[in-house]
Symmetry: C2
Subunit: 248 residues, 2 copies
């Protein structure tokens, strides 16, 4: 199974002003095509920081997705930094230029700042943006995407056929109004007996009651269902009726 | 100004099942006390991964906050990994044990799994948890916190007096229904003239209209206000009336 890392480039996420909406989308969609998202980083809009993280991550993961910093303003420095990370010249990409020339029928509208959105490292392959035209791109195993969620999502749909995935990750979520401390012993026993399934336990407070969400994940439906049945029996053995929750 | 990094330990965030709710809280609260959050990482529940990231981050940032993985179940491996990262033995912390013994008046309820919540690296200083008692802790410059948001927040309030901060980061957000491509040139000029203020531009689609949120950040109110006035004038010069938006 191939793996991936997401690099969210954004001071606005680190300052708490904006809640990132891209990570959960990418995590889910990658799961569906059998690419495992193993790490995500939120980093500052700083050229050296971007270079360091892109180079570290592209060496360690099969696929790297960056989001943010490819617009027309002074703080959009992602493409410059990615080109430097690869040691490639930043060029005005002819194919991207043609797309924007087509989009802005009045040539005056395609000002110097918007032309910045045509810049890619030399040799990049564009990623279609059906929403606002200015494209993303792929260079090596790095996919450079927009930060605006609606645009990022459309770009992901445009590029996903390029990813070599595997078996989709399946999951079952079993919820019970019972504290983790009560079920931890039994759950550990179930986990040991079902090593091919990854079992996570997530406590929550809901409507004043303490509960646990038990999330089982694996690539084989039968194995997963067997482990889920063992979890349900374990919970019933503690005198509580578990129920299923739709996965996100 | 001191800086910080957050390490979110959680397969459930990477799979997209759970949307992280802790990062924006920490970003905002750290800003208020003048500690700059420079990076956040979301990593998998894997011992080697946790060790590597804790050691990398504690060397590079003044403060590191981890969230998640300190409960009683088999997938709660944070304390074990943090102890290994520091090369310290994992002990049953006597002070933490006393807290739990007080909380669980029936000794049978304090089972082996819950006793795991008393484990810390040797020499750790506890962080009070007024919500569910099981404490977090500090070891060196690393603060180990719960993942459940309500508990994490309470722990942060318990520990924040230990942080050496600086001037709070102030911000003004100016919003205008105008595309980034139109204002990018003028905004770059304002940024150059106001180097002590960091100006970020964030495009958005709202009610079918394209707009830009211009976020100014700095530690001096007068400098910040002067830059904001320059941004307002620049936007008005483009024939659009800007308005202020409350910061998150």
């Amino acid at each position: 199974m191939s793996d991936a890392c997401v690099i969210i480039i954004g001071n606005e996420v680190l300052s708490g002003r904006t809640k990132d909406a891209n990570l959960s989308f990418l995590g889910e969609r990658l799961n569906e095509i059998g690419v495992r998202l193993l790490e995500a980083r939120v980093i500052a809009d700083d050229t050296d920081t971007i270079i360091e993280n892109v180079n570290d991550c592209r060496a360690r993961f099969d696929y790297v997705f960056t989001t943010g910093g490819i617009g027309p303003t002074h703080d959009d420095i992602t493409s410059d930094a990615v080109a430097k990370a690869f040691g490639l010249p930043l060029i005005r990409n002819p194919e991207a230029l043609a797309l924007l020339q087509q989009h802005y029928s009045n040539p005056e509208d395609l000002n110097e700042q918007r032309l910045k959105m045509c810049e890619t490292p030399e040799g990049a392959t564009l990623i279609d943006n059906p929403i606002s035209k200015a494209p993303g791109y792929q260079i090596g195993n790095v996919f450079v995407l927009a930060g605006v969620p609606v645009v990022m999502r459309a770009m992901f749909e445009s590029l996903k056929h390029r990813l070599v995935g595997g078996l989709p990750m399946l999951s079952i979520t079993i919820v019970a109004y019972i504290g983790e401390g009560v079920l931890a012993g039994g759950l550990g026993v179930v986990q040991e007996a079902h090593a091919d399934v990854e079992i996570g336990s997530y406590p929550f407070f809901r409507d004043g009651s303490l509960g646990s969400a038990l999330v089982l994940r694996g690539t084989d439906q039968a194995t997963l269902e067997a482990a889920a049945e063992a979890v349900r029996e374990m919970v019933r053995g503690l005198g509580v009726e578990p129920f299923e929750e739709a996965n996100a």
